[in-house]
Every structure is written in structure tokens, then in C-alpha cells.
Symmetry: C2
Subunit: 293 residues, 2 copies
């Protein structure tokens, strides 16, 4: 039986709450959306990291390596595919991997809890988006995460609005965050083999441990809260706009680039694929339809 | 100026001839196909490995690292996307990569010439296919390659026919080839993160150097000739069959798996992407449309 300490419990509880808030905000957009069929609703599927252990899927763990998560997927009339994963896992890193992880070279045991989402809208004028925040514990402990906007057809006004909202959010916590974390996103969300960024950026941070746990947790919570307000607003601005077949084709080509980034470069995806994580959860980020021509 | 020896020239000349035969055979299928629009035709685009060198794109090389290739792409009424690449390149492997290549640890200089193709048909009942054959020279020299059949909806009779034709072809050269090379394909075309094969197999071989160069070359030529007869026959059997929307959806999902294999596991693709090869040529294998849901 793996027992969570108060901070692990608080972080896990928050990620679950963030999931609930975000899913509710996206379902509300579906209610207001037009298009074929009824408003979309999320469907949840729980998974265990170690199905043989019979542990529960609440994520509080069980005997040995374990934990699990819950995938929430919605296929709606505004959102062609929206996937929101939460998971809480613990275990022991493989030796070669432990060396690469902050604080794990000394002791390979780890705990991780987080939320990860990718949203692919139907309308090519509505931007796709990605968010991930997580809390990790090895011999060290830290928060990490970020979000980035991925419009197939960029709109400078929305891009500015997105960055401005992130700056306001960051500045509530530390004046150094926005410059540092937006620059990190610019570097991370780069597709080397295409020589271009995958989207218009956002924020990315990792190994955040200021020495004040509550402060770092508050920032991570604000990332989730800000997303739940900001992204639906951007979607509502665009979701009723008419679009052309050529714009739809451009969106599908753009999603090809997005799939390339996730399968070739994204550290989380590649790690998950090579180490036998939950495939459905790992690949939930892949687009519902993509085009290479 | 890089000068090719007689064998390098013979191999390069053959791969160009194989390209011509295969493209002609596929265009002939287009002539006999039905569907919207006119019969498809291949369009060729040449590329240089080192555009600054101003060398020609015949592939015979120039000063320094170089060479190049020609991509042939057809978007037709039978074939949604057919891509056939030939290339001839030479240069010096990066030190860490040289260690992994047969005979390159001692001296990192290399020469490579080959043909590579991937065909994605429109009709989900028509199998997709991949072929690659190549001749490499380091301090050693060898042939390698193979082909594998990738039906979205497998047909046992066609699968048996495909394997039987490859066995007949292999047996013309060496009784050990079919068992060894079909087993190698079974191992190579495996998608570990999905726990399944990407298709129904075929043949795969590498480092083929029996000591009799002419014999090894003859086998490699036969792979190309056999393909040019075999695959069009399989396509003609199926291309006029009616199919359902659900079968088309199954094909698009299958192509998602195919894209995953190529982007995550295929050695050639991953190597090309990480070392700055010609992106358009490397990613020509990606499907015209793919689905993840």
C-alpha cells in the first residue's frame, strides 16, 4: 500500500478538480455550439497501471508499482476530439531512465500526479490547444507543466490575447515567470525536422521548486484555472465563423505536423511508448483526422 | 568529385530502372482504374543533399558530402498517394552513428544508393504496400531491403498469394532466403507500443554479402522485378470492389498505426529526421489521410 503525504494528496485532489472544471467549461461550449448532432459530453474510462494488482483506479495506489488514471474523451459538435487525462502513478524508474530524472539517480523511486489535455476543434479557425501540469516526487519534488496554443490558421489578435492573459496570470506569482516560461515554450514546442514551431507558443516550466511549496502549488493551480476561463473564451469567439474546404484541408495538414511532433519529439509521448505506459492515454493527443500530401 | 566504381554505377542504374518499371506498372493500373478524375501520373522532383554544392541531381555526386535523389509522387484515382524515391548519397557518418553501422567504425565514409516506395490506395480493400532496396558501401559492402503488405482489411487469400510469390522469388536464389527473410520481416514490422504487426509481413534482409556480388545483386533486382508484377496484380483484383464508409474509416485508423510505426520505430525515418535528411522524401511515406479516434 502506497500512502500519499498531505502534499501529494493536495496535488492529486487539485488535478481532479481541474479536470472537472475544464470538462464542465468545455461541455458548456458544446451547449452553445451549433452544428450537427447534440452537444458533446465527456465519457470517462479508468485504467490501472498494473491491472493484475486489483488496486482501485482512484490513483491512490496499491501494492508494488502502480497507480492509474482516468481518461475523459469528448467527441462533440464544436470539439472534434477533446481528451483530458488525469493520473497518479508511483514506482521505480528503470536504471538508465533514473539517471535522466531530477533527483532519481540517488534513488529511483518516484511519485507523479498530473493532468494532461489536448483539444482538436472541428472549425479550422478555432485553435487547438494543449495543457499539462504535474507534481513529481523523487528525492526532490517539483511542479512542471504549461500550455500552448495550436491554431491551424493563426489569428494575430487571438495570439496576442492568449499571451497577454498568460502574462497577467504569471505576473500574479512572479515577475520573472512570464519571460522565462514563455521562452521555454518557444524552445520546447519547436519541430526541428520541419524547421518551425508547432504552434504560437504559450508557457512551459519544469523543476519548479522555489522552496515555498504552497507558492509553487498556487502557480500550478492558476495555470489550470486560467486555462478553464481563457481557452473557452477563444473558442467562442471563432466557433460560429464559416470556413472553406481549403481551410479545413490546411487544418488537417497542420494536424499532421502536430502528430509528427508528438510521435517524434514529445518527451512524454516517446517515454510512454517506449516504456509501456497506457497506450490509449498516451496517444489520446493524436488528432482525430490528419493529412499528409 | 566522387567517382562511382562499376558496381556502384550498376546498382544505381538498376534502382533507376526499377523506379521506371514500377512507376509505369502503377500508371497502367491507373489507366484501368475507375473513379473520379483522369488516370494519375507520377510527378518527379529532384533534390540535392547539399544544395550549396551546385552538383547535379543525377546522384553521381560532386565535391564533398553530397548526392541527391528524385521523388516521384502520384495522386490518382486508384492510388490516393504513391511515392517512389530513388537516391544516391555519399559522405561521412557522424562519429556516434558510425559505430552503429556495419564496417563504419573503422572509417566513417559511406556510399548508399537505393529505392524506397510506399503506396496508399483509395479503396480500403486494396492493400497498401512498402518496398525498399539499397546498396551500401563502407569498409564493407552489402545489399538490403524488403517489402511488406499492409492491408487495412486483410484478405487471407491475397496474403497467401503474396507470401507464395515471394517464396517462389526467394527460392530462385537460395532456399534459405524465404524462411530467413520472411521471419526478419515478421520481427521488423512489429509495433511494440500497439502489441501488433503493422501489416501481414513480407521479406526483410540486410547486410547481404554472400561473397558473390553478382548473385546478391541479382536477388535485389528480382525483389524489384517481382514487386512490379505482383503488387499491381493484387491491386487489380480488388480495385473495383465496392466498400462501405465503415471500411474507409477502418482504413484511416489503420493508416494511423502505419504513421505511428514510421514516426516512432522505422529506423530510416527516425535517422533521417534526426540527421537532417530531405524531409519531403523521408516523410513521403506518411498517409494522405489518417484517423485516430
Amino acid at each position: 500500500m502506497y500512502t500519499l503525504d498531505d502534499r501529494q494528496t493536495a496535488a492529486q485532489t487539485w488535478f481532479r478538480e481541474a479536470r472537472d472544471r475544464i470538462c464542465a467549461a468545455l461541455e458548456s461550449v458544446e451547449d452553445d455550439g451549433r452544428g450537427e448532432g447534440p452537444a458533446g459530453r465527456f465519457e470517462r474510462v479508468a485504467w490501472n497501471r498494473n491491472p493484475a494488482s486489483n488496486e482501485d483506479t482512484s490513483g491512490f495506489g496499491g501494492d508494488g508499482e502502480g497507480g492509474g488514471g482516468v481518461m475523459s474523451v469528448m467527441k462533440g459538435r464544436v470539439f472534434e476530439k477533446a481528451g483530458v487525462n488525469i493520473s497518479t502513478v508511483h514506482g521505480v524508474f528503470a536504471p538508465e531512465f533514473a539517471k535522466q530524472i531530477n533527483g532519481a539517480a540517488e534513488d529511483p523511486r518516484f511519485f507523479a500526479t498530473g493532468i494532461s489535455l489536448v483539444i482538436h476543434p472541428r472549425n479550422p479557425l478555432v485553435p487547438a490547444v494543449h495543457l499539462n501540469t504535474r507534481y513529481l516526487v523523487t528525492t526532490k519534488r517539483w511542479f512542471g507543466g504549461g500550455m500552448d496554443l495550436n491554431p491551424a490558421i493563426a489569428d494575430d489578435a487571438q495570439t496576442s490575447d492568449f499571451h497577454a492573459a498568460l502574462k497577467v496570470m504569471c505576473d500574479r506569482h512572479d515577475a520573472s515567470y512570464y519571460p522565462a516560461h514563455s521562452k521555454w515554450a518557444e524552445e520546447y514546442f519547436w519541430v526541428p525536422h520541419r524547421g518551425r514551431h508547432r504552434g504560437v507558443g504559450g508557457i512551459f516550466y519544469d523543476h519548479l521548486d522555489s522552496g515555498d511549496w504552497e507558492r509553487d502549488f498556487a502557480y500550478t493551480q492558476d495555470v489550470g484555472r486560467t486555462f478553464a476561463e481563457l481557452y473557452p473564451r477563444l473558442v467562442r469567439e471563432k466557433m460560429a465563423l464559416p470556413f472553406t474546404e481549403e481551410q479545413r484541408a490546411e487544418q488537417l495538414r497542420y494536424r499532421g505536423l502536430y502528430a509528427e511532433f508528438n510521435l517524434v519529439h514529445d518527451r512524454g509521448t516517446v517515454f510512454g511508448l517506449k516504456t509501456g505506459g497506457n497506450i490509449e492515454a498516451i496517444l489520446m493527443s493524436l488528432p482525430p483526422l490528419a493529412r499528409w500530401d
